[in-house]
Symmetry: C2
Subunit: 315 residues, 2 copies
């Protein structure tokens, strides 16, 4: 469930776009006005505002926001204002360039978007960067990480609910064999994770748990520092229980010395229109503090107001 609160009868796109223009003018920027508009419009409404803004004022709204805002608040507003497919494309491209932990975001996008939304993100990526996500990911990774990540980002997964229990049983056994052999990068293990439907995969990991006594992710924790195993566990989590995965990303972003705004902004802006409500429930269950309170404690100023508005808790 989404946390975004967008009015069903918002002001017209041209009113919104004029108000935004006003917020940029005069002495100082009116951040509150920007938040009150953009943090309460859904993707379709934001797109109309951007189009109207460009038609009326001859400027890309994103460029003006970029000029007027700064630091964490700027990044959050820009990511949010983008169309979801463009946003995923921007996040994916940013992360192929980062020196560290780059593949997490790619894994997250590949594993938690619907098949069609992933294709739209790929189209947006190609339109903007003139290359495919697949080639950039394959080029910038290597070894086991590449072996997992490239098929993960390439696959067009089936999304039906049908489950073949005989197949799930045989593949649970196959996964267990490979894990016992410590063959964590085995072709079959990667094939199963990267090609089976999410419904089928959930059945397989449930059967794994039933048959072999441990959750698969527990058996994959033989070396807690191994980066590939971390990514493998996170992939399984994303594919079978995405809310729990995102709640953990938020926990790690918030409960560290100096908040990880990069991750916090990413999760709030990409999930506010999707499942941030469920993520917040997972978060509270695990951390005994409501997500909005945790965000409020750890952030400040316009950035805080903006995130809280997206999370459904306006000041």
């Amino acid at each position: 469930m989404a946390t975004l609160k967008a009015p069903s009868q918002p002001p017209s796109p041209s009113e919104d776009s004029d108000q935004l223009r006003k917020a940029f003018q005069g002495w100082g920027t009116n951040e509150g006005l920007i938040i009150s508009i953009l943090a309460h419009r859904n993707a379709a409404q934001r797109k109309l505002i951007r189009d109207t803004y460009a038609a009326t004022h001859g400027e890309d709204l994103l460029k003006d926001l970029d000029k007027e805002l700064s630091s964490d608040f700027e990044r959050a507003v820009l990511l949010w204002t983008l169309d979801p497919a463009e946003r995923d494309a921007a996040l994916a491209n940013e992360s192929t360039k980062k020196l560290t932990a780059s593949y997490w975001v790619i894994m997250e996008i590949a594993s938690t978007r619907s098949a069609i939304d992933l294709i739209k993100a790929k189209q947006a990526y190609q339109a903007r960067f003139k290359r495919s996500i697949e080639e950039d990911v394959a080029y910038h990774t290597s070894g086991d990480i590449r072996k997992l990540l490239v098929p993960l980002v390439s696959t067009f997964r089936y999304e039906g609910d049908e489950v073949n229990m005989t197949l799930a049983k045989s593949e649970a056994k196959l996964l267990h064999e490979k894990i016992v052999e410590k063959a964590y990068n085995h072709d079959d293990l990667i094939r199963i994770l990267t090609t089976r439907s999410k419904a089928q995969l959930s059945a397989t990991v449930n059967l794994y748990n039933n048959e072999f006594g441990n959750a698969i992710n527990k058996d994959l924790k033989t070396d807690p520092k191994d980066e590939y195993l971390k990514l493998l566990r996170a992939t399984i989590k994303c594919l079978t229980y995405p809310e729990k995965y995102f709640a953990k990303v938020l926990r790690l972003a918030i409960n560290r010395l100096g908040t990880d705004e990069w991750a916090l902004t990413r999760v709030v802006t990409t999930r506010a229109e999707v499942d941030l409500q469920r993520i917040a429930e997972e978060y509270q269950r695990r951390n005994s503090i409501p997500l909005n309170k945790a965000i409020a404690n750890d952030t400040s100023g316009d950035y805080r107001s903006f995130l809280l508005a997206l999370a459904g808790h306006d000041g």
Copy 2:
């Protein structure tokens, strides 16, 4: 260029559908009438006829064709009448089930369709078989063949014309190194073939030829009987020069003891609306006989009439 000759002002879909119904009735089937209609309608027109036929006569046209026709003619008419995406889905599924040479058709579909047409084929496959192409290909293949085929069928290739010559040069060198080492299944070799745009790949294999004195496919012919190397060469051919690839498939299908109708039908039905004209030119250049004559010599009856009509040579 297509060979299909479809009138710009065809009879209405309901006239066509009534005529087809008539062709099925009475003593014997009127094959000539079926050919004169279906072999002269493009994909959009055929779809309208199928929809109208179902609405008017309460039957799926394909089912009635299946009942009335037989053997090679039946297979050709059924494949042709299908929507291109459904046809690719049917061909791909059929080939994951065949005992031999199954992966050729998958490679062909993955390498010669546009990125969007490949996605449409994947959607049609999922709608019909309740699984993804990716998972079926990965499940039914193994070893090097799987290593090449799964990313090939999974990738959503960029289709722009931009070429990065520096990259092409470095990747031509990388390909050459791996080929010299006989590391034909090397990750980088497969990465380059399965993720780069066709324009980029063409530049790379051209530079390969310029820099190292041989066409890449010549250097990949160290063991002419190796099935993986054959598939690798065919993949490169499909990606960089599809007409030549298809002309060769036709040559092999026709010039053998007993025509390979399975391949002949596939190439004619899948390319008649795309590039069969160019394929026929390649064919004639290499075999010194026009494609339509070669087809006429090797086939007979309604099957021959139908293929020739699709190839633009009626009567």
